[in-house]
């Protein structure tokens, strides 16, 4: 009996996966349980084991293609079995995108709302890859297409199928980070002058994470009207508090307390006091979340993840630091669970380590706002009627103007500033 290999569901919210690499070729013998292919999901790369022993009869979805979960991607035939030819084809109705059966020439299969939106936004319906049955273009397809076009700071080809296929011979798992790491060395080694053979630009297949960041950031930037407020806080007392807490925490073998941990605590407190900031837009409704789950942006060599510190208002700064430490380690090791990444109600991004002051962070959808932390820097400032050397810090708050207006958002940022300037208020 031939066994169909299907795109597995590897996480709670996984809807589609990209075949990254096949470890076996058609005709190879496979053993049940041995790695058969690697799959790229939203956030992680996972090896998928062969579900049966036999011969890899047919690969239905080549490397680089993205298909919805449960789509047949290969057929494993029992040793010596002849598979009837009909099995080679992906069943109609389950195909999608470029692999799907197109509508008759001149006709595009699209839902009414997809047609309306495409017309409204001046998009060519025929150019939009459809994810529905028989390649039907749905609302989400039009929106994704519009977002990707607007996000085209990247060359257009970057979204084409060719660019997604892994470069021949590149190691399957670490293609992107290894390639990036090698770049400066190559550049240094290359002769600076003299005639050169034309060098083709390097093309790096977009990882699942890169694509998700692209989709989500462009979705946010082009659907949520952003306003960014900045203010400067005198954090001299907070610096003192952080130094004391950090020393104490480390002495007890803790991971140490950072400014980020203090701001998670401060933001959680301010969010509960300003519930309209702890909100998201859902259709015709605003959903105000009763708990503050604060996401923290973690930079990785090839992207960015935002794991979530849950119930942050109920945690001590030490507990926040330990949870943040665990999440950062897991993000770097690629072991974050989907649950670590979902359910955030607000996000904090910290560029202080790069000597950045104010900036304009993009909201992490569907949240209402994001706080950008700038560097802590000593400056001459007026304090108690005197010019004194004070620790100052810029805070940037981007908010979704559909959800909240300028004055209440400003009041929220002001509360954060006050808590940062007088951290003892957190005990009230």
């Amino acid at each position: 009996m031939a066994t169909e290999v299907r795109m597995p569901k590897l996480g709670m919210t996984m809807e589609e996966g990209t075949v990254q690499v096949w470890f076996k070729q058609e005709g190879d013998t496979v053993q049940k349980g041995e790695p058969l292919l690697s799959v790229l999901t939203d956030k992680v790369d996972i090896e998928v084991d062969a579900p049966a022993s036999g011969v890899l009869h047919k690969i239905l979805v080549p490397a680089g293609q993205t298909v919805p979960i449960n789509t047949p991607i290969a057929i494993i035939a029992a040793e010596g079995e002849v598979v009837e030819p009909g099995r080679d084809a992906v069943p109609a109705g389950e195909t999608r995108g470029s692999g799907g059966k197109a509508a008759p020439p001149g006709k595009v299969r699209a839902t009414p709302v997809a047609r309306r939106l495409a017309a409204q936004w001046g998009l060519d319906l025929a150019a939009i890859p459809g994810s529905g049955p028989k390649g039907r273009v749905t609302r989400a397809d039009v929106e994704a297409f519009a977002a990707s076009r607007q996000a085209a700071a990247l060359p257009a080809e970057a979204f084409g199928p060719a660019a997604v296929a892994p470069a021949a011979g590149s190691p399957p798992q670490a293609a992107v980070p290894a390639g990036l790491a090698a770049a400066p060395a190559n550049a240094a080694a290359a002769p600076v002058t003299g005639p050169q053979a034309p060098v083709a630009p390097r093309r790096i297949p977009l990882s699942g994470m890169r694509r998700v960041i692209g989709e989500r950031m462009s979705q946010s930037a082009f659907t949520a009207p952003h306003v960014t407020l900045t203010t400067e806080a005198d954090v001299t007392d907070l610096v003192r508090l952080r130094t004391a807490l950090n020393e104490e925490d480390r002495r007890h073998g803790g991971p140490g307390i950072g400014y980020l941990d203090l701001f998670v605590r401060i933001a959680a407190r301010a969010l509960l006091e300003h519930p309209y900031m702890n909100a998201r837009l859902e259709g015709d409704e605003l959903v105000l979340e009763p708990e503050a789950h604060v996401g923290v942006a973690v930079a990785l060599p090839d992207g960015l993840l935002v794991p979530v510190i849950r119930h942050a208002s109920r945690l001590s700064v030490g507990a926040i630091a330990r949870e943040r430490h665990r999440l950062v380690q897991a993000a770097r090791n690629g072991t974050l669970s989907p649950d670590d990444l979902h359910g955030g109600t607000f996000t904090i991004t910290n560029l202080g380590a790069y000597e950045i002051d104010a900036f304009t962070p993009i909201i992490n959808p569907p949240q209402a706002a994001i706080l950008g932390m700038g560097r802590v820097v000593e400056k001459p400032a007026v304090h108690g009627g005197q010019v004194a050397i004070r620790s100052m810090m810029a805070l940037s708050l981007s908010f979704d103007h559909r959800v909240v207006d300028g004055a209440p958002a400003a009041a929220f940022l002001q509360r954060i500033k006050h808590l940062a300037e007088r951290p003892e208020l957190l005990h009230l």
């Binding site: 919210t13 809807e15 589609e16 919805p68 999608r96 839902t111 009414p112 709302v113 997809a114 309306r116 994810s131 529905g132 049955p133 039907r136 749905t138 609302r139 989400a140 397809d141 929106e143 994704a144 989709e215 859902e282 259709g283 015709d284 569907p366």
Partner: protein
């Protein structure tokens, strides 16, 4: 609020309206001492006597015809037809007389009558006692048709029906008679022609009536666990139809499933789908509209087959899942 059964709610509506208005009286087969085939009128004869809780011969034509005549002459009769299947026998009186008179006499007469009748399958009553014939009467100008799903609506809609100056057919579902729900003790009515949103959602609008509302709500609970957000509309009235609520909801969700117990072919689901695609909601549809209805067979007697012949909770779940599968990227929009 106190909870009573659907049957008790109907009985309360009848009793309260008879106390409120002496022109209101009941007619039907064995509705007096016996209390009706489903016990709905039990005890009413004790309070109101045999002239106002009138046992009739076994003739639906006589019951409905007499009700229409009494209504024209100023009474407000409530006729019980023991099983809605028997409406076929009285349908000449209902369709050709009751529904027409107000029009044909240029508004000089009114026909303030109600026909209440138990409908639907699920009780092992076989093909001649289990049908859902609401579409027959929805089709007739001059009739109003309601199908309450809850005890609250059973009472409130029946009161509105009794106070209405036009003939109203009230389809009660046999499986609902024993269901309980909150019902106020003070006087209230539920307007005819106004649907109720029983559950709000963002991904799919499920449009149902009667017992299918309960099944749709149970299905919506299960789908919510999968992240599929279902809005459930209880139409309550089939004629006049609350198109505004339907269209508004489908504009929001972009997907619709219509569920009814009557067999799908030429059932009212088709009317709802037509209403949707003719409306502004067309431009918001992101998937074909789905109809779930009974199989195209008479209701079988065998309990397994009887169950399989009409939509169940799992059928609604499957239809909704299938709809969402047709938009594999829908979650990315959230």
């Amino acid at each position: 609020m106190r909870e009573i059964t659907y049957a008790q709610a109907v009985r309360e509506a009848l009793a309260e309206e008879m106390r409120r208005d002496e022109r209101v009286f009941l007619m039907g087969e064995d509705i007096g001492v016996y209390g009706g085939a489903f016990g709905v009128t039990l005890g009413l004869i004790d309070e109101f006597g045999p002239e106002r809780v009138m046992d009739t011969p076994l003739s639906e034509a006589a019951i409905i015809g007499a009700a229409a005549g009494a209504a024209v002459l100023g009474m407000r009769p409530v006729a019980e037809v023991q099983f809605s299947d028997f409406l076929t026998i009285g349908s000449d009186q209902l369709v050709n007389q009751a529904a027409k008179m107000r029009y044909m006499f240029g508004g000089k007469v009114r026909v303030p009558m109600v026909v209440r009748t138990p409908a639907g399958s699920g009780t092992g009553a076989a093909a001649q006692h289990s049908q859902s014939l609401e579409t027959w009467f929805m089709h007739i100008p001059g009739l109003k048709v309601v199908a309450p799903a809850t005890p609250y609506d059973a009472k409130g809609l029946l009161k509105s029906a009794i106070r209405d100056d036009n003939p109203v057919v009230v389809f009660e579902h046999k499986l609902l008679y024993k269901t309980k729900g909150p019902v106020p003790e003070e006087d209230y009515t539920v307007p005819i022609g106004k649907a109720a949103i029983r559950r709000e959602g963002t991904d799919i609008t499920v449009i149902a009536t009667s017992v299918m509302v309960l099944r749709s709500l149970a299905a919506a609970d299960r789908l919510a666990e999968e992240g599929i957000s279902v809005e459930v509309i209880d139409l309550r009235s089939l004629r006049p139809l609350d198109t505004e609520t339907i269209v508004k909801s489908v504009c929001k969700t972009g997907r619709a499933v219509v569920v009814h117990e009557a067999n799908k072919f030429a059932g009212f689901g088709g009317e709802i789908v037509g209403t949707i695609v003719e409306s502004e909601a067309f431009d918001y549809l992101d998937a074909p509209v789905v109809r779930l209805g009974g199989k195209d067979v008479p209701i079988p007697y065998n309990p397994q087959l009887e169950r399989a012949a009409v939509p169940q909770e799992e059928d609604i779940v499957a239809a909704c899942r299938n709809l969402m599968r047709q938009s594999p990227r829908w979650r990315a929009r959230a």
